[in-house]
């Protein structure tokens, strides 16, 4: 890959946006991103995410061999050599893993570093007379895209775009036409085999396409982009959905977005700090990372935010129940004065914020009256509290009566179960324990007060 943008780019890309240049760069980025992300879904599902990285390091001997054999840096032999070694990387990894019983990651590490070293030695041998620098010549840079054009049907189209279009089309056809087979072979190879789908063939054609895509991409746009696009869009999509077709569509969309935003950001953001544009491929990779982070945080299904808010909501609901039941029990004992915020905090060990949320909600729904210096149950509040306490004590009775739990161990369990017990459930417990009037500790079981089916609707929030 080319780390340093050549001066020519500084000339080619002034402050303004030139569609005839930037448009093609974005097109190349989008094509590479989509081609890789289509296959990437299956790599991520098969836990082979690191294959793109391995292939990108390992193709060196293929390039060197092609150069040594043909003696030229013509792109077709180079491409063939690299693609062959790319497939070989996948096969060798598989072989070392199966034959030597080495774990997947380690066998990949052994194979690609060895191939890379082999390539390095071959190149040094070959490059005595010719300029063949592994750092610059073998890996293209996406910024060079508009410079090398082909004449296609009378239009001047960059060679890179033509190549990547073909690769994208092939990958798309592969994924669409063999969708059922790929899906089966990824999730359940044994079932696939038993249904007459050769999961091995599917596997090897996937590996071949991965190698070809990787080689075609980093020959033209640099390797970091393809390594990122194999893993990150698919992982992002996996955070957002559980369905494979949806996942593939989302991953392609993420790929397109990151290519477009990435190029824009590469030109714009360094400007804010007074620098000229930076690496487009790097920025595209970074952008997928940002999109991934957003998906991890905000995914409506598995996102951290929704996970934490669900947990918090549940916590509040349970805390609210406990507050009502606590007040009810105090009333039962004949405590005359109202209960302060502080007493509740000390008794129920809730955080100040959570307790004030709960109190605010109960006052809003008219289940409590008073303020932080002293709270009392309203009639409505007393009704729901009675249902809770009834659930609690019925459970205690049931645990002793029907489940044979020792009476000193029932409180904790009843404490957990009471929050998830509705009217129907209570009636059943009542019936099973032959309509008791007091629990095993001797406290009276309040009469059924709830008029509707569920107490869930009265929980805060």
């Amino acid at each position: 890959m080319n780390l340093f943008i050549e001066p020519i780019i500084a000339d080619a890309m002034p402050a303004g946006w030139l569609w005839e240049l930037d448009g093609w760069i974005i097109a190349a980025g989008v094509l590479c991103a989509v081609a890789s992300s289509l296959l990437g879904n299956f790599l991520v599902l098969r836990r082979m995410s690191m294959l793109g990285d391995a292939v990108s390091h390992a193709v060196l001997p293929g390039l060197a061999a092609a150069f040594l054999i043909t003696g030229s840096r013509h792109s077709l032999p180079m491409f063939l050599g690299a693609a062959i070694v790319g497939v070989l990387t996948a096969l060798l990894t598989q072989w070392v893993r199966g034959f030597g019983k080495v774990d997947e990651g380690a066998s990949m590490g052994v194979v690609f570093t060895t191939l890379f070293a082999l390539g390095l030695v071959m190149i040094v041998r070959a490059a005595d007379s010719v300029d063949l620098d592994p750092g610059c010549v073998l890996y293209g840079a996406i910024e060079f895209t508009p410079l090398d054009t082909l004449d296609v049907l009378g239009f001047d189209i960059p060679r890179v775009v033509v190549i990547l279009s073909v690769v994208t089309l092939v990958n798309l056809l592969f994924v669409v036409l063999l969708f059922k087979e790929l899906k089966l072979a990824s999730f359940d190879p044994a079932l696939a085999d038993s249904m007459g789908i050769h999961s091995n063939w599917i596997h090897y054609s996937l590996m071949t396409l991965v190698a070809i895509t990787a080689v075609a991409s980093f020959e033209s746009v640099g390797n970091i982009l393809v390594v990122a696009m194999f893993v990150v869009p698919a992982s992002t999509a996996l955070m957002l959905t559980d369905r494979l077709p949806v996942m593939i569509v989302i991953s392609a969309a993420v790929a397109v977005l990151s290519a477009v935003i990435g190029h824009w950001a590469a030109i714009t953001i360094p400007n804010w700090f007074g620098y000229a544009s930076s690496s487009t491929a790097g920025m595209m990779a970074l952008t997928t990372g940002v999109l991934f982070a957003l998906a991890v945080i905000f995914s409506p299904k598995n996102g951290l935010l929704i996970m934490f808010s669900r947990r918090f909501q549940l916590e509040l609901g349970i805390l609210g129940d406990d507050v009502l039941a606590y007040l009810y029990r105090l009333e039962e004992k004949g405590t005359a004065e109202a209960i302060t915020d502080r007493q509740i905090r000390e008794e129920l060990l809730g955080s100040r914020f959570a307790i004030s949320m709960v109190m605010w909600w109960y006052k809003l729904t008219n289940q409590l009256q008073g303020d932080h210096t002293g709270y009392r149950l309203t009639d409505a509040g007393r009704t729901s509290a009675a249902s809770l306490v009834r659930s609690h004590r019925l459970w205690e009775q049931y645990l002793v009566d029907q489940a044979g739990v020792a009476s000193d161990r029932i409180h904790g369990q009843a404490e957990r179960l009471e929050h998830f017990t509705d009217r129907k459930f209570r009636d059943e417990l009542d019936r099973q324990t032959s309509f008791p009037s007091s629990d095993p500790h001797g406290s009276p079981i309040p009469a059924e007060q709830s008029t509707e089916q569920s107490i869930e609707s009265q929980k805060p929030i």
């Binding site: 793109g52 990285d53 052994v110 890379f116 030695v121 040094v124 992982s235 790097g282």
Partner: protein, 489 residues
């Protein structure tokens, strides 16, 4: 440095002999200052990487070094860019290394966070951190090289390495790192071992799992970063993975494996850099990788514990033991009807005179003829059977052995039927799988469970019908009366 001479074996001989003797001795006696620095530095690095690598390998995180070494790039670039604002020198090694260490640690934290907080697996976490951080690093370096102070000089060596031009300063860094690594790993050896093999047990014993994990990862980060700027990215990955993976073939003892891995790492580095000192136009990093890869290939085939050949022999030995069992029992069961008819069923002399056509025995097994005749020959060699033209008979020792095998098989069959509720027609296969593993104490237990006594000369009757070849069932006469021409129809 006489030990160095032993590494000559790993060197490409013809090339070495083509060299002049004084070139040769100069390199191997480390008379050149540069050679001395390079060889010693890489050897120490190989030692440290081999040590750490064996822990990460056992923790199934072999490619952690890969992800981490890519993840250091943004830190290096940012350190270079931001150092002047704090009045530091952006090109000083200490500043760059601290930047690398910080971003390496952030990368590690991201890997752990992705794995623990999302449903993504380890490999995806590694791939994401690797590519996104490296992409970020490219962006930062793209900016850094626009700075007036040099072409961000030296930053790219973090990626490609500069093994042949390691200077004494790098050497000291490496030595210090190696020392730290050895100290940390030997101090926490027991805890880390537990972490690698049984995380759940370790946490139940009250060990701080997360703390130990971070300690191990931090060691990897330090070794990776120091090695990265000395030898480059790919070589660093190789040093973390290959020696550890190779030493796993030789032993299942963790202490031995760790030491072996360290020795392999050190040895490969020493050999590789010595060869590159002899052949200056070959990159030493690549040579080191190739030397350790050959060590890996050698270990994969010849490793004592898990090597391919060792595993093959072990499997073959097991197969032979089983084959012997199956054939001897088959022979016994073929003879069994004749024993029943003979007047003195258990008299050894009569039994050893009953001849069975070899083909009848072959018919009890669906084996290729080669496997069958090989085992027959082995039985003959060990004196368990006698053979004459197309027929075989048990010897006295063979009879005892065959009886024992049959007895163990049937005991297990009976056990399966009476105590495990397995249908009688299925026990034969199940018993074949286990019978070789039955130890005397197990046999004894089976006997007492099934009320069989060892002193009872009769075998338990087979609980299922034994499929005898049709020829034998038709002619229920003692086989010993058959003449040579009585070949099966």
């Amino acid at each position: 440095m006489t030990a160095v001479k032993t590494t000559i074996a790993l060197v490409d001989m013809p090339i070495v002999f083509a060299m002049q003797w004084n070139d040769w001795s100069r390199v191997f006696l480390l008379q050149d200052y540069n050679t001395r620095v390079v060889v010693l530095a890489t050897t120490l690095l190989g030692l440290a990487a081999g040590l750490v690598g064996s822990f990460t390998l056992l923790r199934k995180r072999a490619l952690l070094g890969d992800a981490l070494s890519h993840a250091t790039l943004p830190g290096i670039g940012l350190a270079f860019l931001l150092a002047p604002t704090w009045g530091l020198d952006g090109k000083s090694l200490a500043v760059l290394l601290s930047g690398a260490a910080i971003s390496g640690l952030v990368g590690t934290a991201s890997i752990i966070a992705i794995r623990n907080l999302t449903k993504l697996k380890e490999d995806a976490a590694l791939g994401i951190v690797l590519s996104v951080f490296f992409g970020g690093g490219l962006v930062v370096l793209g900016i850094a090289q626009q700075r007036p102070e040099g072409h961000a000089a030296g930053l790219e060596s973090f990626i490609y390495g500069k093994t042949a031009s390691i200077i004494a300063q790098d050497g000291w860094w490496i030595a210090a790192t190696a020392g730290c690594t050895i100290a940390i790993l030997s101090l926490f050896y027991k805890e880390l071992k537990l972490l690698c093999f049984d995380e759940g047990f370790a946490s139940s014993r009250g060990y701080p799992i997360v703390g130990l994990d971070i300690l191990l990862m931090a060691t990897v980060v330090i070794v990776t970063i120091v090695g990265l700027q000395a030898v480059g990215l790919v070589l660093m990955i190789a040093l973390l993975v290959i020696p550890a993976a190779a030493s796993r073939f030789w032993t299942s003892n963790m202490r031995r494996m760790t030491l072996l891995s360290a020795a392999l790492g050190a040895g490969s580095c020493m050999a590789g850099s010595l060869v590159s000192a002899l052949l200056p136009d070959l990159p030493s990093g690549a040579l080191i990788v190739l030397v350790s890869a050959s060590a890996f290939a050698f270990s994969m085939f010849f490793g004592q514990e898990r090597g391919v050949i060792a595993r093959y022999w072990r499997r073959m030995g097991m197969q032979q033991r089983l084959d012997r069992r199956y054939l001897m029992r088959g022979l016994y069961e073929l003879l069994e009807p004749s024993f029943a008819m003979a007047a003195t069923p258990e008299s050894g002399a009569a039994a050893t005179n009953m001849w069975i056509p070899t083909k009848q025995l072959l018919a009890t097994r669906t084996w290729p003829i080669l496997r069958f005749s090989r085992e027959i020959n082995r039985l003959k060699r060990d004196g368990f059977i006698r053979a004459r033209d197309g027929e075989i008979a048990l010897t006295a020792t063979g009879l005892l052995e065959a009886k024992r095998f049959t007895r163990e098989h049937r005991l297990w069959e009976l056990y399966l039927i009476t105590h495990a509720d397995v249908a009688a027609e299925r026990v034969d296969r199940d018993a074949e799988r286990i019978e070789d593993c039955l130890e005397p104490i197990m046999i004894h237990e089976l006997e007492s469970l099934l009320n069989e006594t060892h002193t009872d000369p009769r075998l338990p009757v087979s609980p299922h019908q034994i499929e005898l070849p049709s020829t034998l069932q038709a002619s229920a006469v003692p086989v010993s009366n058959q003449t040579k021409k009585g070949a099966p129809q």
